[in-house]
Symmetry: C2
Subunit: 347 residues, 2 copies
């Protein structure tokens, strides 16, 4: 019936447009609903001193993962990482996850056991409990829905809002690895389809392939921030790429960002692989998704506390120029950073 | 890769077998995880006096719903009902839901608006907030993942466990309507595919078709129980059919059930339609799913409080005969009720 109705293509709106359009439906009428939309988690009242943090995501075979090269055990691990990362992005601690699976008849018990094995390793790593879930038939491959429930002290919660001019822009770990790992895996898949007996040699790409297949969520960064007594002024996780995430931060805070190309933390393997693919490593670092690092703004007054933390890199700072996000290149030129439109193939 | 491995078909295990098999992975190591698996919701510590209740389900086009006859607005409403029902089944109140959608390119903005319109009507009805969600591409139709977050006073929480011999078995509303509504819709779909210009006349089936397309969760029953001061000894919602649900209750409580055929609450429209399909209405009532009524056991001492509540029907009682579930027919015969194996076509 809906196929004949007046029709606005979703592509006209884009993903951001769609989410904004639908946001009008979201609400927090209930006294226990603190924040409904526009952050990594929704926030609910929990106790006098704590908020609850909740997030749900759905992952679809053929869209979010490709089982041609993604071992199920790694996939289970990665999807847990992806969802608990939403809680870390609020400066919170995940405590429980729930899983709902849709399984087509391609999957036997052994395959599901593999998926669960990875899920359980991740649960142990992040100290969360798997508390139930649902399994049903799927007619179209593997569907994994994950929900996470976390907790955060009310005085520690960190939203996407709160960044102010002169704050430092800081990112954990390194960037672009997961994206280049994906390029390697896609290339090997094409080779394998042409020459099925060829065994891929991925050893030289072990780091970036691992970043793609078995992503880690940065619980350790939350622990470090607690230890050194730093509460970021704003924070989110890097799932779609830094360029996309600063677009969000700039918008909700009505600020801009200056990012210094020579400060971008990029692993040598990511650099080499990007160059071999004729890609600019800095653009890969800014636009590559699925790194699950934490991107945060930190008050200048906390500079001394963070400057020697190896896993935190200051890559720029917040400016007053609302929505103006710039890259200052190694040669001193300045380019506008575009969130979605900036083609990753541009050198 | 997993297709070549040793393989145990899921059909060998059955849905119950699979859930039990996977349950070994579930745990409650975290001090805030109260109950992980085996009930309508997982239970988490929330405050000194309250527990949090959480549940996640995934609904797939072609498996859980058919858009050939399910208007998107009704579907949105029904899926919210299905998931909040899990919270009512714990004697709790839902407060927030989250949605993650997978959308194929068949869906324009207007279609999504229809789905959301139904979701919002349901949110208003159940007094829950829609707090965020996620939208992504799907290559295979509509995927809807829903999570619900509720709250319950610690002294009111009702688990599936707690039923004891001589308790009354009580169900809300009437049974089998959603199943017979589905039969009507499936029949009309077949007719329509053969004679596309034929307009179906569903008016005489309005009640049962409504039960299927626009299911209601029984928040009012929870309010009634609170008002009359009755806390069931055990409770769950009727999503798979009473026969299947008492199998669960019998197992976790190591009891049996005697159910009286002449007590089964069945709407006249369900009875007439079942007969026209050559089905036994009692078997439809016991095995038909998706009624989203509440099935509970109640202490004999509360009999006076519930006997005159129109929406609650005593259909039997709990026995000491572990796992022996029997139907006492109108003619006084006794039959074993089988959870999954009992064919609904048997008269």
């Amino acid at each position: 019936m809906f196929e004949n109705a007046d029709r606005t293509e979703l592509s006209e709106l884009g993903e951001f447009g769609l989410i904004e359009h639908l946001a009008q439906h979201f609400g927090t009428k209930n006294q226990h609903s603190i924040k409904g939309v526009g952050d990594d988690c929704a926030v609910i009242e929990r106790s006098e001193t704590t908020f609850g943090l909740i997030s749900t995501e759905v992952f679809l075979e053929g869209v979010h993962f490709d089982l041609a090269y993604h071992p199920l055990k790694h996939l289970g691990y990665k999807l847990v990482s992806a969802v608990v990362s939403d809680v870390y992005a609020m400066n919170g601690k995940p405590e429980q996850i729930q899983i709902a699976l849709g399984l087509s008849n391609r999957f036997g018990l052994e395959a599901i056991e593999e998926l669960y094995a990875g899920i359980i390793i991740a649960c142990d790593k992040y100290k969360v409990d798997l508390v139930g879930g649902d399994t049903s038939t799927s007619r179209s491959g593997l569907v994994v829905s994950m929900s996470v429930y976390g907790v955060v002290n009310k005085d520690l919660i960190t939203y996407r809002t709160g960044a102010k001019p002169m704050d430092l822009l800081v990112v954990s770990g390194d960037l672009g690895g997961a994206y280049m790992g994906l390029q390697i895996l896609e290339r090997e898949k094409r080779v394998f389809m042409e020459v099925p007996n060829m065994q891929p040699d991925l050893e030289q790409y072990d780091y970036i392939v691992g970043r793609q297949l078995r992503a880690e969520a940065r619980f350790d960064v939350i622990d470090i921030l607690e230890e050194i007594g730093v509460k970021p002024t704003s924070m989110m996780d890097v799932s779609d790429g830094v360029a996309s995430e600063i677009f969000h931060l700039a918008k909700v805070n009505q600020v801009g960002f200056d990012i210094f190309e020579d400060k971008l933390p990029i692993d040598p393997q990511t650099v080499e692989t990007a160059i071999s693919f004729d890609l600019n490593p800095s653009i890969v670092a800014l636009n590559g998704g699925e790194d699950y690092e934490l991107l945060m703004t930190i008050d200048q007054g906390d500079f001394e506390k963070i400057k020697n933390i190896p896993d935190l890199t200051i890559i720029g700072y917040v400016t007053e120029a609302a929505l103006k996000n710039q890259l200052i290149t190694k040669s001193g030129n300045t380019f506008d950073i575009k969130a979605q439109g900036w083609p990753i193939s541009q050198k």
